[in-house]
Symmetry: C2
DNA sequence: ATTACATTGCGTCATAATAACACAGTTAAT
DNA sequence: ATTAACTGTGTTATTATGACGCAATGTAAT
């Protein structure tokens, strides 16, 4: 709940919210940043409202920045959710009481909300989960162990992941999810984790290098069991170019 | 302007609209259904507002149905547009006067609007453009000859077409754009028109038949110059199946 | 009727992309 | 020294794609 919105709801776009599915990658797990609601045993996606004088994309960037401290991140709008009854039971007395929202102001929150979904890919190690208040819990949670979420947030999360899986074929990823220097097995694990399936190591290498966005470094990973794998980095210029023009042409 | 909204704006989601990019195909042209605004020399996408008791998808179906008389059509949400100033100059005195909107009610229309974009593919011959009032003009216009549009509708239209081109690689199309029986050159022209590029006739046949959604009929097109081409129809079951599962797997 | 022409139907061939797999090199643990 | 687990660099078979060739069919011109 952003500061000041209760008293100044007239400065926000009515009935419209932003919800962000923030993906990170760690320990070969695809993580999602979730917030524990302080008033019940459910979790939620980090979200926010849209100030009247802010573009929706800017509002999404604000949510992401507030929650992770990160800027200049890959952030993409993927869908808008607007079932009539998606939030009709949400701002009930329990929640209003928790936030100490006066009955009159509560009407604003109880109105029907349509929410715009964005998903982000961020570097797990650089993104520090940031609480809005002391009673809140915000955590990286393995996407396979997502607890019960409020509203239709599970549906939003699932759609984000489905979109990401499709867009994996249309654009390169990894730049915001891996450290600057990374190994081929790490990159492959990222793909495998997102897609939830095994890929052939040798075919993966060929396909990913053919895209032409990787620079093979003259350096090997140190302190590692078994044979030390080579390190790679992204060629930022080519990466951006491919991001813009897309991968698969198809027809 | 839907009937009754001026007096009953409190029954609609504030600051939220739907805009539909309705594509049809005729004379080897990709057509878009556009509405001439009665108050100035610009055109607009068919759009509408979201009743409080309607899902956004339903509201989009309503817009499409009201404008084309068609139901059960391919309709897809592709993006939401929410720049702050996208409509700040739109509901000016000229427009308010035209619609005879009282100053007080006019505030509702002048507020900041976020719009959800849907695109539809419909059978040009079955979709009959339907006016809302006698002063309105609604027409199929070649997408290459789109006149000046109001607001950011050009941007919305462009994005719809870009999305359609991408989704062409992910799903089959044609079911809603061609008559029940059609020839291979007709189907190819559809693809060429959407993509705005020539495809090789023989390679197209191979690729499209390999998808397994076509039934080759024991019938040739009649009354046609040159050699009569064979007729095909879609195998609806397989078509739906491919629509659901997608075409290109990629990774 | 004959011929020219545009278009269709059904091929081929070379190349590129993909899937499946073989084998040797490196390192840590035993 | 041997083994297990992994990396690096291949090969081969299959499939998909891009670029064409050519005969068959029907219209239109002569």
């Amino acid at each position: 709940m952003p500061k000041g919105i209760i008293e100044n709801s007239e400065n926000y776009q009515p009935g419209l919210s932003i919800d962000c599915v923030i993906f990170g990658f760690h320990d070969n797990q695809l993580k999602v940043l979730l917030i524990k609601t302080p008033y019940e045993e459910k979790w939620s996606l980090p979200g926010g409202f849209v100030p009247l004088e802010q573009d929706i994309d800017t509002a999404a960037i604000t949510v992401l920045n507030d929650r992770t401290g990160m800027e200049g991140i890959f952030l993409r709008q993927f869908s808008t959710f607007g079932r009539v009854k998606r939030n009709d039971k949400h701002f009930n007395d329990l929640v209003l009481e928790y936030y100490k929202i006066p009955k009159e102001a509560g009407k604003w929150f109880a109105q029907r909300f349509v929410t715009i979904g964005y998903y982000a890919l961020v570097d797990f190690l650089k993104a520090i989960p940031h609480k809005e208040n002391s009673k809140e819990k915000i955590e990286w949670i393995d996407h396979k162990e997502v607890p019960e979420l409020i509203l239709d947030h599970k549906e939003i999360l699932d759609k984000a992941l489905a979109t990401l899986r499709i867009e994996l074929n249309l654009m390169p990823i990894g730049y915001n999810l891996l450290p600057e220097k990374f190994t081929m097995p790490e990159l492959q694990k990222l793909y495998e984790t997102i897609l939830d399936k095994k890929l052939d190591r040798r075919n993966f290498l060929r396909k990913i290098t053919n895209i032409g966005i990787l620079t093979k470094l003259d350096e090997k990973k140190s302190n590692v069991a078994h044979k030390a794998p080579n390190l790679y980095s992204f060629d930022k210029d080519r990466y951006e170019e491919v991001l813009k023009n897309g991968l698969n042409q198809g027809w």
